[in-house]
């Protein structure tokens, strides 16, 4: 009895807090997606009172709206493409770095990992802002790039407020999430495996493709999940760097809540986003699981 | 009345029965060992005695008092943990003082007893050190001192020597025996190492699959194993399938396939019973030629293989029609003993009462 008392005294407060400030808000949001928008923004009442008494005032309108105009599905697809490109580029950049760290002397490894994490601890907005400076028309970076393009007769290109700027910055903010799980995986590889492969006649490329790469697949799956999912909901990056052409689904959600004040539709979009992310992650996990069991 | 009476203790974890109806009496002043492979339930039993776990059924009586309702901190039982569990944020002296502080003894008395205790384990100059700064053997001694400073009725030791290297382990075994004699406290010792169990204990309970297979003195366990598991687990043993053909009063004749008739001591089996003959390799005589003696089984064969171990050589001899018998030859002869080579003809012999027939 006393055992159970302790258990509830210790786990009770955090559980209660998270129920009130996470579970209930999430449920309210789900409910909100079936409600009508209020006259001045916000939400219309759940219950309507009229001559026949009180009845529920719910609707599927928000979801119907989502499927009625292709522009929303298009925005979803566009967000998905941005996320895929970001994830792929992160993988391409993170892999050599993670491998380099994993293969360097053990006394430097912690420092090298710390160097990957440090920029990630600087404020999110500052990291976006930094690219705003770098990609701005007056920056040395832009000037150098346009000078280079000028050699080939390509006219000066604008970098800021384009999808390119958005994806570049997404890669920048998400890169550490790919490096860390990859490194955690690669670091555990037994160096003797590579010696064994070499001993058995494998050259450097074969050692990489036949030994290192297949063994690192779990790290790749983890990194892909960590990079991909958060990108789907990001709004600050396209908001600051994307101009009108670079917007993503997050911007639309933000707009529905803060500008258009159509909360039911915003909630519906959020739920569609969550479901979409869950389907993709679940599918990928299933694929990865089958892949792994197939290997054995 | 025994110091600790354990009655029909059962402990299940889900579908798995870790301790399956164990009963035993542990006498005051005894060095008692629970021996068995990992997963045999010995550690679970120890944790229940300490009070960190409770049985689903059965009871444990200490000095005749039921332990079930007594919290671990109230039991006059202390434990030396496998990891030693020395508090890393306290000095050696603070670690040893911990149980005394819990009993709210005065500062002066605590100081005096800690000093005495440090002296007992020869760590007087290490009192101000932290456990992290000590060697493995020193940590072990601190753990012992801490568990003994309160003079418990019962000391539980959970594989306390497992983390030490071989040399240190042998030295600590001697220290443990002496310590136990000096303090006169009852020890319950858990180990999976049969040599350690044989060397240290007054009595051993061999456990397997949550049950006690045999409970006896070390020499009885070694010489007269009760069943196949004990014979196989303790030391090395030839285990040969056999059937009783003639059962006499004291002797009997066993029929062994591929070998023929073998004389053995009759532990009380009847004709036609099937079982195994358990025969220790060191009880089998081996030489190129052996003069036959009375009451001996005598066979001619060939060396099938051998292992040179330094102090002894183990020969695997093929006798009869493909029966392998291990025999042990000490390399103690003056000069370099001649080692029999594979294929050499040899003779082996053992007294009828050297082996044990085990039913079933």
């Amino acid at each position: 009895m006393a055992k159970h008392l302790g258990k509830w005294l210790i786990s009770g407060p955090p559980v209660l807090y998270l129920i009130v400030f996470f579970v209930i808000p999430t449920c309210i949001m789900v409910l909100a997606s079936f409600r009508y928008a209020g006259e001045y923004g916000g939400l219309a009442p759940v219950l309507l009172h009229d001559a026949s008494g009180a009845h529920l005032n719910l609707t599927l309108e928000s979801y119907q709206e989502f499927f009625s105009d292709f522009i929303y599905s298009w925005l979803f697809i566009k967000t998905l493409v941005y996320a895929l490109v970001t994830t792929f580029c992160c993988l391409l950049m993170a892999y050599p770095l993670a491998l380099l760290i994993a293969r360097s002397a053990s006394k430097y490894r912690d420092l090298l990992v710390l160097l990957v994490i440090l920029p990630f601890w600087s404020n999110f907005l500052i990291r976006i802002y930094a690219w705003m400076i770098l990609l701005g028309p007056q920056s040395a970076f832009s000037a150098a790039l346009n000078g280079f393009l000028g050699i080939f007769g390509v006219g000066p290109v604008r970098l800021l407020f384009t999808p390119f700027a958005v994806v570049l910055c997404l890669i920048y903010v998400q890169l550490p999430f790919m490096v860390l799980p990859l490194y955690a995986n690669l670091e555990k590889h037994d160096p003797a495996l590579l010696d064994a492969a070499q001993d058995l006649g494998a050259n450097a490329w074969q050692r990489f493709w036949r030994v290192t790469f297949p063994l690192s697949l779990p790290g790749i799956y983890a990194g892909v999940a960590l990079v991909f999912v958060p990108v789907l909901g990001i709004f600050a990056v396209p908001d600051i760097l994307g101009g009108t052409r670079g917007i993503m689904i997050g911007n639309l959600i933000k707009q529905e809540f803060l500008e258009a004040r159509d909360w039911p539709f915003g909630s519906a979009l959020s739920i569609m986003l969550t479901i979409g992310a869950m389907i993709i992650v679940g599918g990928a996990a299933l694929f990865a699981g089958r892949r792994r069991s197939g290997d054995v | 009345m025994a110091l600790l009476e354990i009655r029909n203790i059962v402990r299940r974890f889900g579908d798995f029965t870790a301790v399956d109806g164990v009963s035993m009496d542990i006498e005051a002043g005894e060095f008692f060992t629970l021996l068995g492979p990992s997963g045999c339930g010995k550690t679970t039993l120890l944790r229940m005695i300490a009070g960190f776990d409770s049985p689903q059924s059965g009871e444990m009586l200490l000095d005749g008092k039921d332990l079930a309702s007594i919290a671990p901190e109230k039991r006059p039982i202390h434990t030396v943990f496998q990891s030693y569990a020395l508090f890393p944020h306290m000095t050696v002296a603070e670690n040893i003082a911990f149980p005394l502080r819990m009993r709210k003894l005065g500062k002066g008395e605590i100081g005096e007893r800690v000093r005495q205790s440090l002296e007992d384990v020869r760590l007087t100059d290490r009192g101000g050190r932290y456990p992290g700064e000590l060697s493995g053997g020193q940590r072990q001694r601190v753990a012992l001192a801490r568990a003994l400073v309160n003079r418990p009725r019962l000391l539980l030791l959970d594989e306390p020597l497992a983390a030490l290297d071989m040399k240190l382990r042998e030295q600590m075994q001697l220290e443990l025996i002496n310590l136990q004699k000096e303090v006169g406290i009852t020890f319950i010792y858990v180990t999976h190492d049969q040599t350690e169990a044989l060397a240290l204990s007054h009595r051993i309970a061999v456990m397997n699959g949550g049950k006690v297979e045999q409970l006896d003195e070390p020499s009885k366990i070694y010489d007269s194993p009760k069943n196949r598991f004990v014979a196989d687990f303790i030391g090395t043993c030839n285990l040969i399938d056999a059937e009783v053909s003639v059962a006499g009063e004291e002797k009997m004749v066993l029929q062994i396939r591929g070998l023929g008739e073998v004389a053995a001591r009759n532990p009380g089996a009847t004709g036609g019973a099937k079982g195994i003959l358990a025969l220790r390799p060191e009880k089998v005589r081996i030489a190129a030629q052996l003069a036959p003696e009375d009451d001996e089984n005598h066979f001619k064969g060939r060396v099938h293989d051998f292992l040179y171990m330094g102090d002894v050589t183990v020969y695997i001899v093929e006798v009869g029609d493909g029966v392998h018998v291990e025999a042990l030859l000490p390399n103690s002869a003056a000069g370099r003993p001649r080692i029999l080579a594979v294929g050499d003809p040899v003779e082996i012999a053992w007294r009828y009462d050297a082996g044990t027939f085990l039913d079933g």
Binding site: S122, A130, Y172, A236 | -
Partner: protein, 255 residues
């Protein structure tokens, strides 16, 4: 992969990671209104910053929110971390992890709807409550990782030697996990003071924080004052993270 190619690409990626931040810091000392060419060294933008009342007010809010949120979430998070480690609860791990796993924007908008539904005026209080909600999980993870690094038999040894459960916790467990708790608190402070997305939705018009202030400055007119405040914020974060990782290296790095 050849060693040189690997090293070269690694250095290139490090450059990619640091170049933008170096540029921000450098321009904060540039004696020019534009983030373009280097004109000369100046402290001017830091002076501007120190006389900017809105910015100072936002900084004050950020500090107040971060202090309150880190304190409350440390208490709740330590309890959650201990419960995660000690008891086999089915619901708790999901409750603790879920807010960290789903896109931040969803936490932000659902809290916005919630606060409006319960008629809580958006402002400092709503921001604090939201920050506590997402910091609890981080603290819980750090504390639990510290606990699982502890030899399980230590609190048992204390009980064995005569300590009550409470004494065992106070004299053995708590001192041993204290560095984890402090690291968790610093982590919560950092996350709170840096948070933009959730704050953006739960702040309303009443209260502004540093990230919100930076956001509106970026959106309206970029001045090197943003570089100055960014540099200071980076220094603060760097300091907190170094302290936290000293205390609990594994939990920060191996997250």
């Amino acid at each position: 992969m050849s060693k040189k190619l690997l090293a070269a690409s690694g250095i290139a990626v490090y450059a990619f990671l640091y170049l933008p931040l170096v540029v921000v810091v450098a321009y904060s000392f540039n004696n020019s209104k534009l983030n373009a060419e280097w004109v000369g060294f100046t402290w001017h933008w830091y002076q501007v910053l120190l006389s900017d009342d809105t910015m100072l007010k936002a900084a004050g809010n950020s500090l107040l929110i971060a202090l309150t949120a880190s304190l409350a979430s440390t208490v709740l998070g330590t309890m959650a971390g201990y419960a995660l480690y000690r008891y086999k609860l089915k619901l708790l791990p999901v409750l603790v992890m879920a807010p960290l796993a789903i896109p931040e924007i969803l936490v932000g908008v659902s809290l916005l709807i919630f606060f409006v539904a319960i008629n809580l005026t958006l402002g400092l209080l709503s921001i604090m409550l939201s920050h506590i909600a997402f910091c609890v999980g981080f603290v819980a993870i750090v504390v639990r990782s510290r606990l699982s690094g502890m030899d399980e038999s230590l609190p048992e040894a204390a009980r064995d030697l005569g300590a009550t459960p409470f004494q065992a916790f106070r004299l053995v467990t708590l001192p041993l996990i204290a560095p984890g708790i402090i690291a968790g608190a610093l982590l919560a402070f950092t996350l709170s003071i840096d948070d933009f997305v959730i704050t953006f939705f739960t702040a309303g018009v009443g209260a502004s924080t540093l990230p919100l202030q930076i956001y509106s400055m970026i959106k309206i007119a970029v001045t090197p004052e943003v570089n100055a405040i960014s540099t200071l914020l980076m220094l603060l974060t760097l300091f907190l993270i170094v302290v936290a990782s000293r205390l609990s290296p594994d939990s920060i790095r191996g997250r």
